[in-house]
């Protein structure tokens, strides 16, 4: 009797462990749950400096999608974004690559525009802002002051 109870306790503990692991892998693996209800748009940046596939896409700090892929097209970085289908992006929306905090990870911020035209799936965000290269700016200030 005593033994069965211990066995059950161990079994329950194991199940909880597995469930926690599953939760963790979904969280860390950034599995997108809006897989079906999402559409893709592209944006060409002169440089993405630190943005990676899987990085967050945010409007007003709220995550509305993820960076699907980044590849080099005509010496520019073509970023493919997966955006939740409930979120519509106006034609004059601006996509900027920003840093979380001072030294945090890079993410893509979209500031919504006011145009009547909506970017269709597979469309392109024309207005982009590349990340500000602080080192480069710094060196300009340093070497510029001769």
């Amino acid at each position: 009797m005593e033994r069965t109870r211990v066995n059950i306790a161990v079994g329950v503990f194991l199940l909880i462990g597995i469930a926690a692991l599953g939760y963790l892998s979904i969280k860390l693996g950034r599995v997108s749950f809006f897989g079906g209800g999402a559409y893709e748009v592209i944006a060409d940046f002169p440089s993405v400096g630190g943005l990676k596939a899987g990085s967050a896409v945010e409007i007003a700090g709220v995550e509305i999608g993820r960076v699907e892929a980044i590849k080099l097209v005509e010496y520019q970085a073509r970023v493919t974004l997966r955006i939740e289908s409930s979120v519509k992006l106006q034609e004059d929306s601006i996509a900027s690559i920003k840093t979380k905090g001072l030294i945090g990870e890079k993410y893509l911020r979209i500031s919504p525009g006011g145009s009547d035209k909506i970017i269709p799936p597979k469309g392109r965000i024309r207005e982009v802002e590349a990340p500000v290269d602080f080192e480069e700016l710094l060196s300009k200030y340093i070497f510029g002051k001769v």
Partner: protein
């Protein structure tokens, strides 16, 4: 020195030249306009202190002709543009043009022989991006991108991106913050008071700068 170059790059956006009857390649148009503006600034006659007003007026005139203030204002106001009445829109465009003028026109006067090189352009339908570099006298390069669109056969600039920072994105964030935290009326009030302050300050500031 880099600060000066940046200020200058910002200033040059208002100097993009004059209207042309023909619609050619955006870079050609842009270059013609910038060259024309630089000529005004380099003119020794115009550099005299007494000519400040006239020089400003000349620069302002060019800016009004080439810069699509309406489009810039609309894009900067973004979502809030749709809920404005036509009269409000007109007023806002005027206030916004004033704001750009007072922010940049005084900086144009810092021009001191910086060179502009044209790196390339991308045309996509009725929109184009012209990439330029402003080379300061110390050799520092500042990338300046002009975003233009075709309106009635003319390429007009609606956004300027300096060192990767967009003018519209900057004002859009600021306007949005003011409108969402207080109201549109508050924003207009703010812009009006700034303009009045500027007009009062101007004469004294100019004499102290020199």
């Amino acid at each position: 020195m880099a600060t000066r170059g940046l200020a200058l790059a910002a200033g040059l956006l208002l100097l993009l030249g004059a209207p042309r009857a023909w619609a050619g390649v955006p870079t050609d148009q842009l270059k013609a306009q910038i060259d024309r503006a630089i000529k005004i600034l380099e003119n020794v006659e115009n550099k005299k202190d007494t000519k400040v007003q006239e020089r400003r007026a000349a620069v302002r005139k060019i800016a009004n002709e080439i810069f699509d203030f309406g489009e810039t204002a609309q894009r900067s106001l973004a979502r809030h543009w749709a809920s404005r009445t036509p009269a409000e829109r007109e007023e806002f465009v005027r206030l916004f043009a004033d704001l750009l003028e007072r922010s940049y026109i005084s900086r144009i006067e810092l021009y001191g022989g910086e060179k502009i090189t044209y790196v390339g352009e991308t045309i996509d339908g009725d929109q184009a991006v012209v990439r330029t570099k402003l080379v300061t006298n110390q050799g520092t390069e500042i990338p300046v991108e002009y975003r233009m669109h075709l309106r009635d056969g003319k390429w007009l600039v609606y956004d300027v991106v300096i060192e990767g920072v967009s003018l519209i994105a900057n004002y859009r964030a600021q306007f949005n913050k003011i409108i969402t935290t207080s109201s549109y009326e508050e924003l207009v009030k703010k812009m009006k008071t700034r303009q009045e302050e500027f007009q009062q300050d101007e004469p004294s500031k100019r004499t102290s700068q020199r």
